[in-house]
């Protein structure tokens, strides 16, 4: 599982931009938003985009592209159970928060204005 967590984390770091928004609160909001959508998308749940709040539409769009890419690139995801996928996503999210927020060396991350 640890290896899978690292592979997916590396892919997100390379491919996505939402975890690198300017400030801690943006990053937190984006990471929570995208990781809130991913389990539903992995489960094949249909999400009615037009009914979502604007903010959630943004997270959905980022998460939808990411889940399509992950399912294509990491074939083992299709064979994992829902609980295994949850465990995997929890692990990736925890590490992503660590690298991009908690242990982040970016000195502007907590500047109170943009």
């Amino acid at each position: 599982m640890e290896k899978k967590v690292d592979e997916i984390l590396e892919f997100i770091m390379e491919r996505c931009l939402w975890q690198f928004h300017s400030r801690e609160w943006d990053r937190t909001e984006n990471i929570n938003g995208v990781f809130g959508m991913l389990p539903k998308l992995f489960a094949g749940e249909k999400i009615a985009v037009k009914d979502l709040e604007p903010k959630d539409k943004g997270h959905y769009a980022d998460a939808k592209i990411l889940s399509d890419q992950l399912l294509e690139k990491f074939s083992y995801l299709k064979d994992m159970s829902a609980s295994e996928k949850d465990e995997l996503l929890d692990g990736v999210k925890a590490k992503l928060v660590d690298v991009s927020i908690t242990k982040c060396r970016n000195e502007e991350l907590r500047v109170p204005f943009y």
Binding site: F20, P54, I65, R105
Partner: protein, 471 residues
């Protein structure tokens, strides 16, 4: 590998904080170069000034606005015509430069009277233009000219005009980045929400951080139009002053250059609840991803797929042709900041090239987080690089081509290494599908040009021989 001190920097060891070489097993929590900090004395920085960041990069792009520079004449000339951003109204913004042409006498006795006269003169000379940006420069900031009060007077006297004061002199920050910041924040505070755009589609966006370099905006707008999406404001490629005043009416902020314009995207999110979606508009595969993201946001995925299929049919084979010929070629990207992270994976994934060194003039640590995450192991990452460092890097990495600006490009050319203009492009646009092919073509032509070999030959002896032999 920890942060690196170049040999040429032995007398300025502070430079070590600004250079990093990525190695296996390292992550961002261990090393992140210092950036967006004051240039170290002793290093010959390639940076621009803060006024330049506001005027040349953002404001000066607008196609319907007089850009009056309140300062000595050089401040106008040096921020005019070097960026090659056309418009669909016959390039008004590229044809003219406006300056109050401040002289010693004006500095001693104040330049506000001269400013008012220049504003009126410019409006009289261009009676069809009703919008103006007035830029303070180092000289006029130091003497304390109050340009806001002059603007207010003019607005009261000429009722049909609207003016914006850009109060960001060259010394306001450590680089041009401060100019981006001040322009974004002041525009948001003073102008957004003061104009109501006509809404023609249920899908509306602001495109933020694209400056129509050699027609990039035209490429992007074409894709969006085919998807039925209305662009409320383009910040600022081929843009208009009033469209930027109406940015509050878009349903989405599609952000490309997060460095120069992320601020306004953030503020629009904070004040009006408009989401910010970041995309890479350079890169062939990224173009597909960006359109798919936009399609997902509005629930119009089918339209996105249609545009992708049409563009792929036009450009896919060409891209493949260049990939076969550029794979394995090594390159450096020495530009402003964001193009490092926009381009590195795109050039590696789309074309199989290897980005071996990257340098940013004005990027912040956020940009280095992105580029180090996307970049290769073994690649050199430099903040605020200087010319001697570039010489040393060239020796270390031996690139096949360097993407950089014309000034550093001239240095590279003298070493007979191909260079591509990474700021204004050689033969753009470089965005989208078409742009990716253009960029690949320019790099292919540069690398394979016979000129680099010929330029290194001394023909004097053979010419003398030919003359002697009467050839």
């Amino acid at each position: 590998m920890p942060l690196k001190l170049f040999k040429c920097d032995e007398t300025i060891p502070e430079r070590e904080r600004h250079v990093y070489i990525k190695e296996d097993g390292e992550d961002l929590t261990q090393y992140l170069p210092a950036s967006n900090v004051t240039t170290i004395p002793g290093t010959l920085s390639e940076r621009g000034c803060s006024y330049c960041g506001a005027k040349l990069v953002i404001g000066g792009v607008l196609k319907d606005t007089i850009q009056l520079v309140h300062g000595p004449i050089g401040c106008t000339y040096n921020t005019w015509h070097t960026k090659r951003y056309p418009s669909d109204n016959n390039n008004f913004q590229l044809k003219y430069g406006w300056s109050t042409d401040m002289k010693e006498g004006n500095v001693v006795f104040g330049g506000m009277k001269k400013l008012k006269q220049a504003i009126n003169e410019a409006f009289d000379a261009f009676p069809e233009v009703k919008r103006m940006m007035v830029y303070v420069t180092c000289a006029t900031a130091l003497i304390g000219d109050d340009i806001k009060s002059v603007i207010k007077e003019v607005e009261e006297e000429r009722e049909d005009v609207d003016l914006f004061a850009v109060q960001c002199p060259g010394f306001a920050g450590v680089s041009q980045s401060m100019g981006h910041h001040v322009f974004n924040i002041d525009w948001m505070k003073e102008k957004v929400g003061t104009y109501e755009p006509e809404i023609k589609s249920e899908y509306t966006v602001n495109i933020i951080g694209d400056y129509n370099i050699q027609g990039d905006t035209f490429v992007m707008n074409d894709y969006l139009e085919r998807m039925g999406i209305q662009v409320i404001a383009h910040f600022t490629g081929n843009g208009t002053y009033d469209a930027l005043r109406g940015m509050h009416r878009a349903k989405l902020n599609l952000t490309n250059c997060a460095r120069s314009a992320g601020y306004i995207a953030n503020e629009l999110k904070k004040k009006y609840g408009i989401p910010r979606l970041d995309v890479d508009t350079w890169g062939y595969d990224y173009a597909k991803e960006g359109l798919r993201k936009l399609g997902a946001y509005f629930g119009i995925e089918d339209k996105a797929e249609q545009v992708i299929a049409e563009e792929d049919a036009k450009w896919g084979a060409k891209m493949k042709w260049y990939k076969e010929r550029l794979a394995g070629k090594k390159l450096c990207i020495w530009t402003g900041g964001p193009r490092l992270w926009h381009w590195t994976k795109a050039l590696e994934d789309d074309l199989g090239m290897e980005v071996v060194a990257m340098s940013s003039k004005f990027g912040h640590q956020e940009d280095f987080e992105k580029v180090i995450s996307r970049g290769r192991k073994g690649t050199i990452y430099i903040d605020d690089g200087n010319e001697l460092e570039f010489f040393e890097v060239l020796d270390m990495v031996k690139p096949d081509v360097v993407l950089t600006g014309p000034r550093v490009g001239e240095m590279v050319k003298k070493l007979h290494i191909p260079y591509i203009n990474g700021h204004g492009y050689h033969n753009g646009p470089y965005m989208g599908f078409e742009g990716s092919v253009n960029m690949a073509r320019d790099m292919y032509n540069a690398i394979n040009s016979p000129l680099w070999g010929l330029a290194g030959k001394d023909i004097r002896e053979s010419a003398k021989e030919a003359i002697t032999q009467g050839v």
